[in-house]
Symmetry: C2
Subunit: 300 residues, 2 copies
Protein backbone atom coordinates (compact mmCIF):
# COMPACT_ATOMS: atom_id res chain seq x y z
CA UNK A 1 0.00 0.00 0.00
CA UNK A 2 1.13 3.55 -0.77
CA UNK A 3 0.41 6.86 0.93
CA UNK A 4 -0.12 10.02 -1.11
CA UNK A 5 -0.42 13.68 -0.16
CA UNK A 6 -1.65 16.48 -2.35
CA UNK A 7 -0.16 19.40 -0.45
CA UNK A 8 -2.04 22.54 -1.42
CA UNK A 9 -1.76 26.04 -0.02
CA UNK A 10 -5.27 25.93 1.45
CA UNK A 11 -5.86 22.21 2.01
CA UNK A 12 -4.08 18.87 2.11
CA UNK A 13 -5.61 15.73 0.67
CA UNK A 14 -4.18 12.45 1.97
CA UNK A 15 -4.98 9.01 0.61
CA UNK A 16 -3.84 5.44 1.01
CA UNK A 17 -4.20 2.88 -1.76
CA UNK A 18 -2.55 1.61 -4.91
CA UNK A 19 -4.35 3.44 -7.72
CA UNK A 20 -7.65 4.93 -8.95
CA UNK A 21 -9.62 1.69 -8.46
CA UNK A 22 -8.10 0.98 -5.08
CA UNK A 23 -8.24 4.02 -2.81
CA UNK A 24 -8.72 2.65 0.72
CA UNK A 25 -9.13 5.93 2.58
CA UNK A 26 -9.02 9.68 1.96
CA UNK A 27 -8.82 12.59 4.37
CA UNK A 28 -8.90 16.33 3.71
CA UNK A 29 -7.90 19.03 6.16
CA UNK A 30 -6.94 22.71 6.04
CA UNK A 31 -3.29 23.77 5.63
CA UNK A 32 -2.39 25.38 8.96
CA UNK A 33 1.20 25.35 10.26
CA UNK A 34 3.74 22.94 8.77
CA UNK A 35 4.15 21.02 12.05
CA UNK A 36 0.42 20.63 12.62
CA UNK A 37 -0.39 19.81 9.00
CA UNK A 38 2.40 17.26 8.56
CA UNK A 39 1.40 15.89 11.98
CA UNK A 40 -2.20 15.31 10.88
CA UNK A 41 -1.01 13.50 7.77
CA UNK A 42 1.25 11.25 9.85
CA UNK A 43 -1.61 10.52 12.24
CA UNK A 44 -3.94 9.62 9.36
CA UNK A 45 -1.36 7.31 7.77
CA UNK A 46 -0.58 5.69 11.15
CA UNK A 47 -4.22 4.70 11.55
CA UNK A 48 -4.03 2.82 8.25
CA UNK A 49 -0.50 1.56 8.61
CA UNK A 50 -1.76 -0.79 11.31
CA UNK A 51 -4.08 -2.52 8.87
CA UNK A 52 -1.73 -2.78 5.89
CA UNK A 53 1.87 -1.70 5.54
CA UNK A 54 2.72 1.60 3.87
CA UNK A 55 5.64 0.89 1.54
CA UNK A 56 6.34 4.49 0.49
CA UNK A 57 4.91 8.00 0.64
CA UNK A 58 4.45 10.41 -2.25
CA UNK A 59 3.95 14.16 -1.94
CA UNK A 60 2.87 16.56 -4.69
CA UNK A 61 3.26 20.01 -3.19
CA UNK A 62 2.61 23.66 -3.81
CA UNK A 63 5.89 25.42 -4.35
CA UNK A 64 8.42 26.45 -5.03
CA UNK A 65 10.01 23.25 -3.79
CA UNK A 66 13.54 21.88 -3.72
CA UNK A 67 13.80 18.74 -5.87
CA UNK A 68 17.57 18.45 -5.96
CA UNK A 69 18.50 15.26 -4.05
CA UNK A 70 21.98 16.73 -3.40
CA UNK A 71 20.57 19.83 -1.68
CA UNK A 72 20.23 20.15 2.08
CA UNK A 73 16.75 21.54 1.44
CA UNK A 74 15.63 18.57 -0.66
CA UNK A 75 11.97 17.80 0.06
CA UNK A 76 11.34 21.28 1.48
CA UNK A 77 8.96 23.98 0.32
CA UNK A 78 11.33 26.92 -0.21
CA UNK A 79 10.60 30.61 -0.89
CA UNK A 80 6.80 30.55 -0.75
CA UNK A 81 5.09 33.79 0.32
CA UNK A 82 2.81 31.65 2.55
CA UNK A 83 3.52 32.70 6.17
CA UNK A 84 5.31 30.07 8.24
CA UNK A 85 5.99 27.75 5.30
CA UNK A 86 9.31 29.16 4.06
CA UNK A 87 11.82 26.30 3.97
CA UNK A 88 9.38 23.91 5.65
CA UNK A 89 10.68 20.34 5.54
CA UNK A 90 7.91 18.06 4.25
CA UNK A 91 9.65 14.90 3.06
CA UNK A 92 11.97 14.60 6.08
CA UNK A 93 9.46 14.13 8.94
CA UNK A 94 7.23 11.88 6.81
CA UNK A 95 10.09 9.56 5.88
CA UNK A 96 11.34 9.41 9.47
CA UNK A 97 7.87 8.68 10.88
CA UNK A 98 7.44 5.54 8.77
CA UNK A 99 11.03 4.73 7.77
CA UNK A 100 10.00 4.46 4.12
CA UNK A 101 11.13 6.16 0.90
CA UNK A 102 9.42 9.46 0.07
CA UNK A 103 8.75 10.64 -3.48
CA UNK A 104 8.52 14.43 -3.62
CA UNK A 105 7.62 16.72 -6.51
CA UNK A 106 5.45 19.69 -7.42
CA UNK A 107 1.66 19.31 -7.29
CA UNK A 108 1.45 19.67 -11.08
CA UNK A 109 4.26 17.20 -11.79
CA UNK A 110 2.47 14.75 -9.47
CA UNK A 111 -0.77 15.26 -11.40
CA UNK A 112 1.13 14.74 -14.67
CA UNK A 113 2.54 11.50 -13.28
CA UNK A 114 -0.95 10.36 -12.22
CA UNK A 115 -2.22 10.94 -15.75
CA UNK A 116 0.87 9.15 -17.14
CA UNK A 117 0.31 6.15 -14.93
CA UNK A 118 -3.47 5.81 -15.12
CA UNK A 119 -5.04 8.63 -17.14
CA UNK A 120 -5.14 10.81 -20.20
CA UNK A 121 -1.53 10.20 -21.25
CA UNK A 122 -2.19 6.45 -21.69
CA UNK A 123 -4.75 6.53 -24.49
CA UNK A 124 -4.68 5.51 -27.26
CA UNK A 125 -1.08 4.60 -26.47
CA UNK A 126 1.39 5.74 -23.84
CA UNK A 127 2.89 9.19 -24.38
CA UNK A 128 6.31 10.15 -23.11
CA UNK A 129 6.18 13.95 -23.53
CA UNK A 130 3.17 15.98 -22.44
CA UNK A 131 2.16 18.98 -20.37
CA UNK A 132 -0.29 19.27 -17.47
CA UNK A 133 -1.62 22.71 -16.55
CA UNK A 134 -3.72 23.37 -13.51
CA UNK A 135 -5.84 26.53 -13.58
CA UNK A 136 -7.27 27.60 -10.25
CA UNK A 137 -6.12 29.88 -7.43
CA UNK A 138 -2.82 29.97 -9.30
CA UNK A 139 -1.68 28.48 -12.57
CA UNK A 140 0.95 25.79 -12.58
CA UNK A 141 2.34 23.53 -15.26
CA UNK A 142 4.11 20.22 -14.97
CA UNK A 143 5.54 18.04 -17.69
CA UNK A 144 6.71 14.59 -18.53
CA UNK A 145 9.53 14.71 -21.09
CA UNK A 146 11.14 11.65 -22.62
CA UNK A 147 9.33 9.55 -20.00
CA UNK A 148 10.60 11.44 -16.94
CA UNK A 149 9.12 14.30 -14.94
CA UNK A 150 10.70 17.61 -15.93
CA UNK A 151 12.82 19.27 -13.26
CA UNK A 152 15.79 20.90 -15.01
CA UNK A 153 17.25 23.78 -12.99
CA UNK A 154 14.39 23.85 -10.45
CA UNK A 155 10.97 22.86 -11.82
CA UNK A 156 8.73 24.45 -14.42
CA UNK A 157 6.92 27.63 -13.38
CA UNK A 158 4.65 27.72 -16.40
CA UNK A 159 2.17 30.08 -14.80
CA UNK A 160 4.77 32.80 -15.01
CA UNK A 161 5.40 32.86 -18.75
CA UNK A 162 4.84 36.38 -20.05
CA UNK A 163 1.96 36.92 -22.45
CA UNK A 164 0.73 39.76 -24.64
CA UNK A 165 -2.28 41.72 -23.40
CA UNK A 166 -4.25 44.10 -25.59
CA UNK A 167 -5.17 47.02 -23.25
CA UNK A 168 -8.13 47.95 -25.45
CA UNK A 169 -9.69 44.51 -25.15
CA UNK A 170 -8.52 43.99 -21.58
CA UNK A 171 -7.63 47.03 -19.42
CA UNK A 172 -6.94 44.80 -16.39
CA UNK A 173 -3.19 44.87 -15.85
CA UNK A 174 -2.83 41.45 -14.30
CA UNK A 175 -2.93 40.04 -10.78
CA UNK A 176 0.57 38.61 -10.42
CA UNK A 177 2.53 40.45 -7.74
CA UNK A 178 5.77 39.67 -9.55
CA UNK A 179 4.97 39.90 -13.25
CA UNK A 180 1.56 41.52 -13.66
CA UNK A 181 0.53 40.15 -17.01
CA UNK A 182 1.95 36.64 -16.89
CA UNK A 183 -0.33 33.66 -17.57
CA UNK A 184 -1.25 33.35 -13.88
CA UNK A 185 -1.66 37.12 -13.56
CA UNK A 186 -4.12 37.18 -16.46
CA UNK A 187 -5.99 33.89 -16.24
CA UNK A 188 -6.06 32.47 -12.69
CA UNK A 189 -9.32 32.37 -10.76
CA UNK A 190 -8.37 35.44 -8.66
CA UNK A 191 -7.38 37.33 -11.86
CA UNK A 192 -10.86 36.68 -13.27
CA UNK A 193 -12.47 37.79 -10.03
CA UNK A 194 -10.40 41.01 -9.84
CA UNK A 195 -11.08 41.80 -13.50
CA UNK A 196 -14.84 41.25 -13.46
CA UNK A 197 -15.69 41.88 -9.81
CA UNK A 198 -17.45 38.52 -9.63
CA UNK A 199 -16.13 35.12 -8.67
CA UNK A 200 -15.29 33.07 -11.77
CA UNK A 201 -17.81 30.36 -10.90
CA UNK A 202 -20.58 32.95 -10.77
CA UNK A 203 -19.97 34.27 -14.29
CA UNK A 204 -22.58 32.90 -16.74
CA UNK A 205 -21.32 30.75 -19.62
CA UNK A 206 -22.19 33.43 -22.19
CA UNK A 207 -20.23 36.17 -20.36
CA UNK A 208 -17.37 37.69 -22.44
CA UNK A 209 -15.06 36.74 -19.56
CA UNK A 210 -14.83 33.20 -20.90
CA UNK A 211 -13.71 34.14 -24.42
CA UNK A 212 -10.94 36.27 -22.89
CA UNK A 213 -10.03 33.48 -20.47
CA UNK A 214 -9.85 31.00 -23.36
CA UNK A 215 -7.65 33.46 -25.27
CA UNK A 216 -5.08 33.70 -22.49
CA UNK A 217 -5.09 29.98 -21.76
CA UNK A 218 -4.67 29.34 -25.51
CA UNK A 219 -1.66 31.69 -25.58
CA UNK A 220 -0.17 29.68 -22.72
CA UNK A 221 -0.84 26.42 -24.54
CA UNK A 222 0.63 27.76 -27.81
CA UNK A 223 3.83 28.83 -26.05
CA UNK A 224 4.09 25.46 -24.32
CA UNK A 225 3.66 23.80 -27.74
CA UNK A 226 6.34 26.02 -29.31
CA UNK A 227 8.86 25.42 -26.55
CA UNK A 228 8.15 21.88 -25.39
CA UNK A 229 6.38 20.20 -28.33
CA UNK A 230 4.09 18.11 -26.10
CA UNK A 231 2.22 15.13 -27.52
CA UNK A 232 -0.83 16.22 -25.49
CA UNK A 233 -1.91 19.11 -23.26
CA UNK A 234 -3.99 18.26 -20.20
CA UNK A 235 -5.88 21.12 -18.53
CA UNK A 236 -7.13 20.60 -14.97
CA UNK A 237 -7.92 22.65 -11.88
CA UNK A 238 -10.98 24.43 -10.58
CA UNK A 239 -11.41 26.93 -13.42
CA UNK A 240 -11.30 24.10 -15.99
CA UNK A 241 -14.34 22.63 -14.28
CA UNK A 242 -16.10 25.04 -16.66
CA UNK A 243 -16.13 22.53 -19.49
CA UNK A 244 -17.38 25.06 -22.05
CA UNK A 245 -13.83 26.48 -21.95
CA UNK A 246 -12.39 23.48 -23.79
CA UNK A 247 -13.93 24.10 -27.24
CA UNK A 248 -13.12 27.81 -26.91
CA UNK A 249 -9.47 27.09 -26.07
CA UNK A 250 -9.09 24.53 -28.86
CA UNK A 251 -10.49 26.98 -31.45
CA UNK A 252 -8.24 29.76 -30.18
CA UNK A 253 -5.12 27.56 -30.23
CA UNK A 254 -5.83 26.71 -33.87
CA UNK A 255 -6.43 30.39 -34.67
CA UNK A 256 -3.18 31.46 -32.97
CA UNK A 257 -1.05 28.76 -34.61
CA UNK A 258 -2.42 29.67 -38.06
CA UNK A 259 -1.73 26.24 -39.54
CA UNK A 260 1.99 26.69 -38.95
CA UNK A 261 2.31 23.24 -37.41
CA UNK A 262 1.04 20.78 -39.99
CA UNK A 263 0.34 17.93 -37.63
CA UNK A 264 -2.87 15.86 -37.52
CA UNK A 265 -2.95 16.14 -33.72
CA UNK A 266 -3.80 19.84 -34.09
CA UNK A 267 -5.29 20.14 -37.57
CA UNK A 268 -7.59 17.11 -37.37
CA UNK A 269 -7.98 15.82 -33.82
CA UNK A 270 -7.48 18.74 -31.48
CA UNK A 271 -10.29 17.44 -29.24
CA UNK A 272 -7.94 14.56 -28.37
CA UNK A 273 -4.95 16.90 -28.03
CA UNK A 274 -6.23 19.45 -25.49
CA UNK A 275 -8.10 17.43 -22.91
CA UNK A 276 -9.26 17.42 -19.28
CA UNK A 277 -7.55 14.98 -16.90
CA UNK A 278 -9.05 11.50 -16.90
CA UNK A 279 -8.57 11.39 -13.14
CA UNK A 280 -10.45 14.67 -12.66
CA UNK A 281 -9.84 16.36 -9.32
CA UNK A 282 -8.20 13.17 -8.04
CA UNK A 283 -5.20 13.63 -10.41
CA UNK A 284 -3.16 15.34 -7.70
CA UNK A 285 -3.58 12.84 -4.89
CA UNK A 286 -3.42 9.82 -7.22
CA UNK A 287 -0.30 11.33 -8.72
CA UNK A 288 1.12 11.48 -5.20
CA UNK A 289 0.41 7.75 -4.87
CA UNK A 290 2.22 7.25 -8.19
CA UNK A 291 5.17 9.23 -6.77
CA UNK A 292 5.18 6.86 -3.79
CA UNK A 293 5.16 3.86 -6.10
CA UNK A 294 8.05 5.35 -8.11
CA UNK A 295 10.03 6.04 -4.91
CA UNK A 296 9.45 2.49 -3.73
CA UNK A 297 10.50 0.97 -7.07
CA UNK A 298 13.67 3.03 -7.28
CA UNK A 299 14.62 2.22 -3.66
CA UNK A 300 14.73 -1.51 -4.33
Amino acid sequence: MYAGIESGGTKWVCAVGTGPDDVRAVERFPTTTPAETVGRAIEFFRRHNGIQTIRAIGVGSFGPVDLNPQSRHYGHITTTPKPGWQFADIAGPLGRAFDVPVGFDTDVNAAALGEFRWGAARRPQGLDTFVYFTVGTGIGGGAMVNGKLLHGMLHPEMGHMILPRDPVRDPFEGACKFHGACLEGLASGPAMEQRWGVRAEDLPADHPAWALEAHYLALGVVNAISILSPQRVILGGGVMGQRHLFPLIRAEVKALLRDYLKVPQILERIEDYIVPPDLGDRAGVLGAIALAEQAFDSSR
Copy 2:
Protein backbone atom coordinates in the same frame (compact mmCIF):
# COMPACT_ATOMS: atom_id res chain seq x y z
CA MET B 1 35.33 8.64 -38.85
CA TYR B 2 31.97 10.39 -38.97
CA ALA B 3 30.35 12.63 -41.56
CA GLY B 4 28.26 15.63 -40.52
CA ILE B 5 26.00 17.98 -42.45
CA GLU B 6 24.66 21.29 -41.25
CA SER B 7 21.77 21.65 -43.69
CA GLY B 8 20.76 25.29 -43.82
CA GLY B 9 18.28 27.02 -46.08
CA THR B 10 21.00 29.02 -47.84
CA LYS B 11 24.10 26.84 -47.44
CA TRP B 12 25.19 23.38 -46.44
CA VAL B 13 28.31 22.76 -44.38
CA CYS B 14 29.77 19.25 -44.58
CA ALA B 15 32.58 17.92 -42.43
CA VAL B 16 34.34 14.66 -41.73
CA GLY B 17 36.05 13.99 -38.43
CA THR B 18 35.43 12.83 -34.90
CA GLY B 19 35.10 16.07 -32.90
CA PRO B 20 36.22 19.67 -32.49
CA ASP B 21 39.92 18.80 -32.32
CA ASP B 22 39.76 16.36 -35.19
CA VAL B 23 37.97 17.85 -38.19
CA ARG B 24 39.69 16.34 -41.25
CA ALA B 25 37.89 18.29 -43.98
CA VAL B 26 35.10 20.84 -44.37
CA GLU B 27 33.20 21.96 -47.43
CA ARG B 28 30.54 24.66 -47.82
CA PHE B 29 28.24 25.07 -50.81
CA PRO B 30 24.96 26.83 -51.53
CA THR B 31 21.61 25.08 -51.03
CA THR B 32 20.23 24.63 -54.57
CA THR B 33 17.87 21.72 -55.39
CA PRO B 34 17.61 18.76 -53.01
CA ALA B 35 19.07 16.33 -55.60
CA GLU B 36 22.03 18.54 -56.45
CA THR B 37 22.74 19.55 -52.85
CA VAL B 38 22.53 16.02 -51.43
CA GLY B 39 24.59 14.91 -54.43
CA ARG B 40 27.39 17.35 -53.65
CA ALA B 41 27.47 16.15 -50.05
CA ILE B 42 27.70 12.53 -51.18
CA GLU B 43 30.51 13.41 -53.59
CA PHE B 44 32.44 15.23 -50.85
CA PHE B 45 32.07 12.35 -48.41
CA ARG B 46 33.06 9.82 -51.15
CA ARG B 47 36.37 11.62 -51.66
CA HIS B 48 37.15 11.15 -47.98
CA ASN B 49 35.60 7.72 -47.57
CA GLY B 50 38.44 6.36 -49.72
CA ILE B 51 41.02 7.51 -47.17
CA GLN B 52 39.18 6.49 -43.98
CA THR B 53 35.86 4.75 -43.52
CA ILE B 54 32.74 6.76 -42.70
CA ARG B 55 30.93 4.86 -39.96
CA ALA B 56 27.79 7.01 -39.84
CA ILE B 57 26.35 10.29 -41.10
CA GLY B 58 24.64 12.98 -39.03
CA VAL B 59 22.39 15.71 -40.39
CA GLY B 60 21.14 18.79 -38.52
CA SER B 61 18.63 20.38 -40.84
CA PHE B 62 16.45 23.41 -41.31
CA GLY B 63 12.84 22.39 -40.90
CA PRO B 64 10.25 21.48 -40.24
CA VAL B 65 11.54 17.93 -40.40
CA ASP B 66 10.03 14.52 -39.69
CA LEU B 67 11.79 12.85 -36.77
CA ASN B 68 9.34 10.04 -36.17
CA PRO B 69 11.14 6.77 -37.02
CA GLN B 70 7.74 5.13 -37.66
CA SER B 71 6.76 7.70 -40.29
CA ARG B 72 7.24 7.14 -44.03
CA HIS B 73 8.62 10.68 -44.17
CA TYR B 74 11.24 10.07 -41.48
CA GLY B 75 14.42 11.94 -42.38
CA HIS B 76 12.60 14.29 -44.75
CA ILE B 77 12.24 18.04 -44.64
CA THR B 78 8.45 18.46 -44.65
CA THR B 79 6.28 21.58 -45.09
CA THR B 80 9.01 24.17 -45.63
CA PRO B 81 8.08 27.22 -47.71
CA LYS B 82 11.44 26.81 -49.53
CA PRO B 83 10.63 26.04 -53.20
CA GLY B 84 11.46 22.49 -54.28
CA TRP B 85 12.24 21.28 -50.76
CA GLN B 86 8.79 20.20 -49.56
CA PHE B 87 9.03 16.59 -48.42
CA ALA B 88 12.62 16.29 -49.68
CA ASP B 89 14.21 13.05 -48.46
CA ILE B 90 17.58 13.84 -46.90
CA ALA B 91 18.45 10.86 -44.72
CA GLY B 92 17.36 8.22 -47.27
CA PRO B 93 19.81 8.90 -50.16
CA LEU B 94 22.71 9.56 -47.76
CA GLY B 95 22.21 6.27 -45.94
CA ARG B 96 21.86 4.33 -49.20
CA ALA B 97 24.97 5.91 -50.74
CA PHE B 98 27.23 4.72 -47.92
CA ASP B 99 25.17 1.92 -46.34
CA VAL B 100 25.67 3.44 -42.88
CA PRO B 101 23.31 4.65 -40.13
CA VAL B 102 22.09 8.23 -40.42
CA GLY B 103 21.32 10.43 -37.43
CA PHE B 104 18.81 13.12 -38.34
CA ASP B 105 17.48 16.05 -36.30
CA THR B 106 16.81 19.77 -36.45
CA ASP B 107 19.74 22.15 -36.90
CA VAL B 108 19.21 23.55 -33.40
CA ASN B 109 18.89 20.15 -31.73
CA ALA B 110 22.13 19.16 -33.49
CA ALA B 111 23.83 22.29 -32.15
CA ALA B 112 22.48 21.49 -28.67
CA LEU B 113 23.94 17.99 -28.96
CA GLY B 114 27.30 19.41 -30.06
CA GLU B 115 27.38 21.65 -26.98
CA PHE B 116 26.31 18.68 -24.83
CA ARG B 117 29.09 16.49 -26.22
CA TRP B 118 31.94 18.99 -26.36
CA GLY B 119 30.82 22.48 -25.37
CA ALA B 120 29.00 24.82 -23.04
CA ALA B 121 26.79 22.15 -21.46
CA ARG B 122 29.82 20.27 -20.12
CA ARG B 123 31.25 22.86 -17.75
CA PRO B 124 31.61 22.91 -14.82
CA GLN B 125 29.78 19.57 -14.91
CA GLY B 126 27.55 17.89 -17.45
CA LEU B 127 24.03 19.22 -17.69
CA ASP B 128 21.08 17.10 -18.79
CA THR B 129 18.46 19.81 -19.41
CA PHE B 130 19.28 22.97 -21.34
CA VAL B 131 18.11 25.10 -24.25
CA TYR B 132 19.97 26.23 -27.37
CA PHE B 133 18.58 29.19 -29.33
CA THR B 134 19.95 30.28 -32.68
CA VAL B 135 19.20 33.87 -33.68
CA GLY B 136 19.84 34.69 -37.32
CA THR B 137 17.76 34.62 -40.52
CA GLY B 138 15.18 32.84 -38.38
CA ILE B 139 15.05 31.95 -34.71
CA GLY B 140 15.08 28.33 -33.67
CA GLY B 141 15.37 26.59 -30.36
CA GLY B 142 16.50 23.09 -29.53
CA ALA B 143 16.71 21.38 -26.17
CA MET B 144 18.21 18.52 -24.31
CA VAL B 145 15.87 17.31 -21.55
CA ASN B 146 16.70 14.58 -19.09
CA GLY B 147 19.75 13.75 -21.24
CA LYS B 148 17.89 13.29 -24.54
CA LEU B 149 17.15 15.69 -27.39
CA LEU B 150 13.59 17.01 -27.16
CA HIS B 151 11.25 15.90 -29.92
CA GLY B 152 7.81 15.35 -28.36
CA MET B 153 4.99 15.68 -30.88
CA LEU B 154 7.24 17.05 -33.65
CA HIS B 155 10.18 19.16 -32.46
CA PRO B 156 10.34 22.49 -30.66
CA GLU B 157 9.50 25.56 -32.73
CA MET B 158 10.69 28.03 -30.12
CA GLY B 159 10.96 30.91 -32.58
CA HIS B 160 7.18 30.92 -32.81
CA MET B 161 6.29 31.52 -29.17
CA ILE B 162 4.04 34.59 -28.96
CA LEU B 163 5.42 37.63 -27.13
CA PRO B 164 4.06 40.95 -25.93
CA ARG B 165 4.93 44.01 -28.00
CA ASP B 166 4.39 47.56 -26.78
CA PRO B 167 3.25 49.48 -29.90
CA VAL B 168 4.42 52.78 -28.41
CA ARG B 169 7.97 51.52 -27.95
CA ASP B 170 7.93 49.41 -31.09
CA PRO B 171 5.42 50.20 -33.85
CA PHE B 172 6.84 47.42 -36.08
CA GLU B 173 4.20 44.69 -36.17
CA GLY B 174 6.53 41.77 -36.70
CA ALA B 175 8.00 39.96 -39.69
CA CYS B 176 6.59 36.45 -39.25
CA LYS B 177 4.22 35.55 -42.08
CA PHE B 178 2.29 33.27 -39.76
CA HIS B 179 2.26 34.99 -36.40
CA GLY B 180 3.47 38.55 -36.85
CA ALA B 181 4.77 39.26 -33.37
CA CYS B 182 6.26 35.94 -32.38
CA LEU B 183 9.88 35.77 -31.17
CA GLU B 184 11.17 35.21 -34.72
CA GLY B 185 8.85 37.89 -36.10
CA LEU B 186 10.19 40.44 -33.62
CA ALA B 187 13.84 39.53 -33.16
CA SER B 188 15.29 37.68 -36.17
CA GLY B 189 17.88 39.40 -38.37
CA PRO B 190 15.29 40.18 -41.09
CA ALA B 191 12.90 41.59 -38.43
CA MET B 192 15.63 43.99 -37.30
CA GLU B 193 16.36 44.98 -40.90
CA GLN B 194 12.67 45.59 -41.68
CA ARG B 195 12.17 47.57 -38.49
CA TRP B 196 15.19 49.85 -38.81
CA GLY B 197 15.77 49.87 -42.59
CA VAL B 198 19.39 48.86 -42.04
CA ARG B 199 20.97 45.42 -41.86
CA ALA B 200 21.46 44.31 -38.25
CA GLU B 201 25.26 44.06 -38.66
CA ASP B 202 25.38 47.70 -39.80
CA LEU B 203 23.62 49.08 -36.70
CA PRO B 204 26.13 50.66 -34.29
CA ALA B 205 26.43 49.13 -30.82
CA ASP B 206 24.86 52.22 -29.19
CA HIS B 207 21.77 52.16 -31.45
CA PRO B 208 18.45 51.69 -29.55
CA ALA B 209 17.83 48.66 -31.79
CA TRP B 210 20.01 46.55 -29.52
CA ALA B 211 18.15 47.32 -26.28
CA LEU B 212 14.89 46.37 -28.00
CA GLU B 213 16.48 43.24 -29.46
CA ALA B 214 17.76 42.27 -26.01
CA HIS B 215 14.28 42.86 -24.59
CA TYR B 216 12.62 40.46 -27.03
CA LEU B 217 15.32 37.81 -26.70
CA ALA B 218 15.04 38.10 -22.91
CA LEU B 219 11.27 37.57 -23.13
CA GLY B 220 11.96 34.43 -25.16
CA VAL B 221 14.51 33.24 -22.60
CA VAL B 222 12.16 33.97 -19.67
CA ASN B 223 9.37 31.95 -21.28
CA ALA B 224 11.75 29.08 -22.00
CA ILE B 225 12.82 29.21 -18.33
CA SER B 226 9.20 29.22 -17.12
CA ILE B 227 8.17 26.30 -19.30
CA LEU B 228 11.29 24.16 -19.54
CA SER B 229 13.39 25.08 -16.48
CA PRO B 230 16.71 24.72 -18.31
CA GLN B 231 19.97 24.45 -16.37
CA ARG B 232 21.56 26.76 -18.95
CA VAL B 233 20.55 28.83 -21.98
CA ILE B 234 22.96 28.91 -24.92
CA LEU B 235 22.47 31.66 -27.50
CA GLY B 236 24.12 31.25 -30.90
CA GLY B 237 23.59 32.30 -34.50
CA GLY B 238 24.63 35.30 -36.59
CA VAL B 239 22.86 38.00 -34.58
CA MET B 240 24.47 36.74 -31.36
CA GLY B 241 27.85 37.45 -32.94
CA GLN B 242 27.11 40.92 -31.51
CA ARG B 243 28.58 40.05 -28.14
CA HIS B 244 27.38 43.28 -26.52
CA LEU B 245 23.91 41.70 -26.59
CA PHE B 246 24.79 39.21 -23.85
CA PRO B 247 25.04 41.64 -20.90
CA LEU B 248 21.89 43.42 -22.11
CA ILE B 249 19.93 40.16 -22.32
CA ARG B 250 21.16 38.96 -18.92
CA ALA B 251 20.12 42.25 -17.25
CA GLU B 252 16.74 42.16 -18.97
CA VAL B 253 16.08 38.53 -17.97
CA LYS B 254 16.75 39.46 -14.34
CA ALA B 255 14.49 42.51 -14.65
CA LEU B 256 11.65 40.49 -16.17
CA LEU B 257 11.87 37.65 -13.64
CA ARG B 258 11.81 40.14 -10.75
CA ASP B 259 13.55 37.78 -8.34
CA TYR B 260 10.70 35.31 -8.61
CA LEU B 261 13.09 32.40 -9.10
CA LYS B 262 15.40 32.38 -6.11
CA VAL B 263 18.16 30.35 -7.70
CA PRO B 264 21.86 31.22 -7.60
CA GLN B 265 22.19 30.44 -11.32
CA ILE B 266 20.12 33.55 -12.06
CA LEU B 267 20.56 35.74 -8.98
CA GLU B 268 24.32 35.31 -8.62
CA ARG B 269 25.91 33.79 -11.70
CA ILE B 270 23.76 34.72 -14.66
CA GLU B 271 26.92 35.23 -16.78
CA ASP B 272 27.39 31.45 -16.56
CA TYR B 273 23.70 30.79 -17.18
CA ILE B 274 23.09 32.68 -20.43
CA VAL B 275 26.11 31.99 -22.57
CA PRO B 276 27.36 31.82 -26.16
CA PRO B 277 28.15 28.37 -27.58
CA ASP B 278 31.65 27.12 -26.82
CA LEU B 279 31.82 25.70 -30.33
CA GLY B 280 30.90 29.06 -31.90
CA ASP B 281 29.67 28.84 -35.48
CA ARG B 282 30.90 25.25 -35.65
CA ALA B 283 28.21 24.07 -33.16
CA GLY B 284 25.88 23.04 -35.99
CA VAL B 285 28.26 20.92 -38.05
CA LEU B 286 30.00 19.46 -34.99
CA GLY B 287 26.56 18.66 -33.61
CA ALA B 288 25.87 16.81 -36.85
CA ILE B 289 29.04 14.77 -36.25
CA ALA B 290 27.75 14.06 -32.73
CA LEU B 291 24.43 12.91 -34.29
CA ALA B 292 26.43 10.53 -36.50
CA GLU B 293 28.30 9.20 -33.49
CA GLN B 294 24.99 8.68 -31.64
CA ALA B 295 23.48 6.89 -34.66
CA PHE B 296 26.52 4.62 -34.91
CA ASP B 297 26.46 3.79 -31.19
CA SER B 298 22.76 2.98 -31.18
CA SER B 299 23.08 0.81 -34.31
CA ARG B 300 25.56 -1.57 -32.68
